[in-house]
Amino acid sequence: MKFPSFIKKRGAPSFRFEELPSADLWDPTTHIDTANEIFGPFSNSLTYYDNVLSQIQSINELSITPLYRLFDETNEQVRRIALRHDVDFDPYAALRCARLLARYGTCGSFYLLHTNPYYGRVVNETFVRNPYLAEFVDGLMVAGAEIGLHNDALNIFQNWNRDGNGALTQEIAWLRGRGVTIHGTVAHNSGPVYGAENYEIFQGYRLWERELKTSTGQVIPLGSLNGEELGLTYEGTFARPKHDPNTDLAGAFFSDKVASDVRSKSWMRKFLLDSPACDYMTDTQFWLVGVDSWIVAGQRAGGDIYEHFISFSKVLEIIQDLPTGSRSIMVIHPEYVRN
């Protein structure tokens, strides 16, 4: 695979990568305790997710597909919905979700966050993968999940002062070396966190012309990484730059970190539906954000739809009414599906 040479000349330095386990690197008990503390108040039971799955599986003429097949050109009339799992923090919860899906023969898509300690961390200038990571990956593979990376390259550029593109490329290669077939990545976080969306590192995905810098003043090479050369076929937010973005509004939206809150109705609406900088290829997105609490954003025959903090029973009605040929995603953070 090729890698733009100017990044190595001008950009942030690369990590060394270490695969040897370090026993004291990560304490699963502490990590899970932290997950319980952070996500517990917002979490649902596995039985709840089981019910969600069985309800959508029982809908006639609705096909549940992994993300890599969401936009397959065959059977274009079929309504499709993909189950996207952004594994922000808790790989154990992710494995439980994947195993639940396996029971039904359903393929969910799981994206591992390569900047979270469950994946790895920096020790003395070396990125050291968690000794448990290989087990998580094997567990997800056996459970039949589609596996991808939860792309956090901008975090590496900005906060770790290292080459985020190189780190993402390296982790894709490492996962493939473990036997994983990777078709896609999903951008972690949202634009205001870094001043750009993580997917903007890919060629063709920069939302508008601007200069983004690391904390040490180095230019971050937005739009430089060639996804095709990396063997990727999709970016799983399915965002695409607007042809004529309102850069003033976009700039204001991306620079307002304080307003960015998944629980804010106005902010989430702007993020998922009224973005000044991007559109979405998907017809509808269903985000699980709390205890039986969903956000729905997208298009329907009569125009836009946006629902904030609705229950699954209402989500189900919307899914049942999805039009022929529609392509939708459910975004599940496994942290919200705990025991």
Binding site: R99, L100, R103, T106, C107, V180
Partner: protein
Amino acid sequence: MSKPYFVIGCGRSGTTAVCSILDTAKNGICNNEPFPNLARESRKMMEGRLTDPSELVESTIVARVRKNEKEGMIYGEKNITFAPFVRTLHELLDCRFVFVKRDGRDVVRSLINWHEQKFANIYREAVDPVRLSAEARRYIGGLPIDLDDSDYARPRPLAGSPLHDTWLNLTRFEMCSYYWATINGVFLDELNMLPHGSWITVDVDGADSETFTQAAEFLGLNNLDNYSVNKMLNQKINSLSDRGSSPGTFSLWRDWDAWHHDRFNTIAGPMMRKLGYSPHLLECVQA
């Protein structure tokens, strides 16, 4: 024209070996797992989500049999996914069945070794820590579950049945024990509703050339060569070693600990007795 036949049984019971041996008959063929094999439909049928399979079986399996039938030749095929379709096949084809059985403890061991060494896709939801050979990891990395009909075809407990609520806490050993007991139960339920003389049972572990002479006579096959049959039996067709893989490390049942014996006996003990496998040994182990 002679009646077609099907080799059926639980996976890892020796069905492939039986099919291969019967395929050596001069006046017949036995196809190994031709597609479509109704894998997904089999699970739906067992879960009551497919109520009238006649049209499905007619348009797939019956059509294939008709297409392959030739004057003077007896058509046979092996598929392990036909358990809930046995009666329908008989109604539509007036066919015969060779039901292959094997001691459940040997089947469970074989399934687990098959999973760990070869394909890694047997009861994908099992709670066990993953132990995969490099070969198995390579295979499973390219087979997400949406492309994998074979694991989907295996039965899972229905709501209200004893293991349903605890299923996701079970090990692969327990799930494989459930599979062996359940799928053999479905086979026997179906076979026992057929007219007398429609089916025979073969136990590959105790089989010899005489076993296959009788099977061939039952099916109308001729010219099975005793030497070749014995050679094929010794070859252990479709075993891990026959497929060029490492043999696997899961213990022979005689070396199982008390937990394994207890769990197997709880889940599969009644079917062991039903199929005539050494209840005495089971009881000895329990004692």
